[in-house]
Symmetry: C2
Subunit: 135 residues, 2 copies
């Protein structure tokens, strides 16, 4: 849970006068007003939460591998399990997470269900991430 209950800061002494290390000219980083100003510049609480949720979904190597597999082509559950060498159940659970996050679509054909990526943004985000890691 992330609830932000306490506010035990220590610095930020709420003084009306310009606080001590305001004289650090370069970035003008210090206390009351700037803190408030930046706080208000932050995107909406809800958007930030959604971004974190999205990344959380990407933050598991099984799901990363599923997504990368789906970059190649749509696949049924048991084939994904085969590619990753994991149980059908584990894959199905993770596909549910991806489904809830609207990151995959699916299509039924008889008994088998084919999953594919919902959106081009996903590939873009992943490419950036790959680039970042490879410096």
């Amino acid at each position: 849970m992330e609830e932000n209950k306490k506010t035990v800061l220590g610095c930020e002494e709420q003084s009306t006068e310009i606080s001590e290390h305001t004289d650090i000219s370069e970035t003008g980083s210090s206390n009351p007003d700037i803190v408030k100003a930046i706080a208000e510049k932050l995107p909406d609480e809800e958007l930030l939460y959604d971004v974190a949720e999205l990344f959380k979904v990407f933050g598991d190597s099984t799901r990363v591998r599923i997504i990368c597999a789906l970059f190649e082509s749509e696949m049924c559950v048991c084939d994904i399990a085969g590619v990753l060498n994991m149980t059908q159940s584990a894959i199905s659970h993770q596909l549910r997470v991806l489904k809830q996050a609207r990151l995959v679509k699916y299509r039924r054909e008889g008994k088998t269900v084919f999953y594919s990526l919902a959106d081009g943004h996903i590939q873009t985000i992943f490419n950036q991430a790959f680039e970042h890691i490879m410096e």
Copy 2:
């Protein structure tokens, strides 16, 4: 732990002949060979793991908020705590995570330590994520 111990598949019957639902012409999705082919197309295990680790770091709303605050300017720990309305300790712990992931740099000035983002890729990735969420 993600160890891939078992391989209880059910389908993927390892038949030499072309398996049943290979006749699904559109995507050609079915069993032994395609599964192996796609498995080999996946990026290195290590890279996939690193990508997941990177996203895992992004996958917490406290860290997302810290990063967004740092988009505005470099900041000291207690100011970040002020902006997010959280304890210095909680912020410091999270900064450590960001530091270990090489996502932030820091610079000491007397007693205070100023943190800033390490890399432009971060902003790009976040922008993509914001776009994705806003459809």
